[in-house]
Symmetry: C2
Subunit: 309 residues, 2 copies
């Protein structure tokens, strides 16, 4: 799957992933009015509004980008109805030829981790019938529980040609509380470096042509960390959140790429899907043109990033 991602990035000349992380506040009134009119201000109504919003966004940008990253929390908050729309979004994006990175940050142990891996990337065995459930192309994985939590995902990546991105250094302010702790038995290197070393090790048995199906998440807000981790994990694709709304700048992104101009994919969520609320776009694009504003924002992001590689 990492080979397909690399190809699509080259083809579209866009190391960009659009985060489909809608909140109700981002969704234009006319969409909410229609959904709430039909289903009321209920979980189903909210989920329906998200679905209408997503479809219009995807229709508007799918030809420009290789991948989308729906954040499952924004769907799961609306209960099973929301999870249904997450699944519909995954399917719709795949129909449009997009690679889907499920931002699920799951991580558990043994048979539980296996259940997440099979349910999200593989097929579940129902009395001999192998059935895909969510069927994303990649998912994000939390490493806190160690190899026991990650290996079941890697097994499924191997058998189904899928991929994962392991959280190494996250983009948030407090990510250092645990991730930046210096480790006595690792010559004072930081926890994120050790996690990065494990990502490199896990990834060696799960290679595509040039890159591994085991990638990493490293926040754009920590470019100096990106530089260190880029060296520790030369074969890992880095999924980079935190660009734009969280403060990461285009010029900081060069550290996340390899010399081949590959090896990183930059996520933007709010910056794209709520572009019509940003003063840069709001004059040209009224609320009803939110999808066009998203397209304009993708084109601008592409330019901003491509000058840095």
């Amino acid at each position: 799957m990492i080979d397909r991602l690399t190809e699509e990035i080259k083809k579209k000349n866009a190391p960009i992933v659009v985060g489909l992380d809608p909140t109700l506040k981002m969704i234009p009134d006319h969409i909410k009015k229609k959904a709430f009119g039909e289903y009321g201000r209920t979980l189903k109504g909210a989920a329906e509004a998200v679905w209408d919003f997503n479809r219009a966004l995807v229709d508007s940008v799918y030809d420009l980008i290789p991948a989308v990253k729906p954040q499952i929390a924004m769907y799961e908050q609306f209960g099973p109805e929301g999870v249904m729309v997450f699944k519909k979004t995954v399917d719709y994006c795949k129909e449009k030829g997009l690679i889907v990175i499920g931002d699920i940050k799951r991580g558990d142990i043994g048979s539980t981790s296996e259940a997440y891996a099979l349910g999200h990337l593989g097929k579940v065995d129902i009395d001999g019938e192998l059935v895909p459930a969510f069927d994303e192309d990649f998912v994000t994985v939390n490493p806190y529980l160690g190899s026991d939590g990650v290996m079941p995902f890697i097994d499924v990546c191997r058998s189904e040609n899928k991929g994962i991105f392991v959280l190494v250094k996250t983009s948030n302010k407090s990510s250092g509380e645990f991730q930046d702790q210096r480790l006595s038995d690792k010559d004072g290197r930081m926890l994120y470096e050790t996690v990065g070393e494990m990502v490199d090790e896990w990834g060696r048995d799960c290679m595509g042509t040039d890159y591994s199906n085991v990638g990493a998440v490293v926040g754009a807000t920590y470019p100096e960390v990106g530089k260190i981790l880029r060296e520790i994990m030369p074969k890992a694709y880095i999924l980079v959140p935190g660009y734009g709304a969280q403060g990461g700048k285009g010029s900081d992104l060069k550290y996340f790429f390899n010399k081949d101009g590959l090896g990183a994919i930059i996520n933007s969520s709010r910056g794209i899907i709520a572009a019509y609320k940003n003063e840069k776009y709001s004059q040209d694009y009224p609320e009803t043109a939110f999808a066009d504003a998203a397209r304009a924002a993708v084109l601008d992001m592409k330019e901003d990033i491509n000058v840095c590689i």
Copy 2:
């Protein structure tokens, strides 16, 4: 919510939580036959089998125990239909007077973590209408992303009188890869100790009468760690997985309790819900009596644990 948990534990004289983590392999043939007959060997059929299994188990043991812990992975693997059965299970258990600990191990940042917190413990705001989605009483939380990931849950715990258990030291073999790293800037104490200190700190602002609504997960398989963490987090309830099937013994559990005989709740999943497959029970309880076997296993577990406190 921690006060209610403490009361129920005392009332039922059982510091026990039953893990509702069904796999299809655990579910008796007559239940699967009925579900697959009706819905086929599909995600819906699998979810229906889980639902029938759960209901019978809960009916059989609810009067003996204070709480259940459904592991969402075992439902989520069957897609939105599975998640629907997770929600039905949560509701059914609450109707039976049980406290529900959603074993979701979520952890993200900012508005994403807030979405998980509101969706699982609180109410989501749908255009002014406050609607509960999953509405568990407690959930488990992964701390790898630091305070940014945990605080949104604590905010909801405060406003809704709910609780969380933060993963500190997990029961699996490889949990030490990261959790047992010694930290240079913390006098060589281990990462799990630092996480434990944070749990203690987070919990101080979220107190019930004697215990905090911020608890911790510490595996029964590491009793010596339980002893250390018990001291670091005197006010935290410890949710203890790994008893039984994973190798944790009753005699090891004393370290997880405080001198008041409280402060810990021991989980058993397979050991209870699949007791009819264990040779200890299989002679007396055929497959069709799986729910009675579960009841017998709860009674035995209660005895095993209560002699140790």
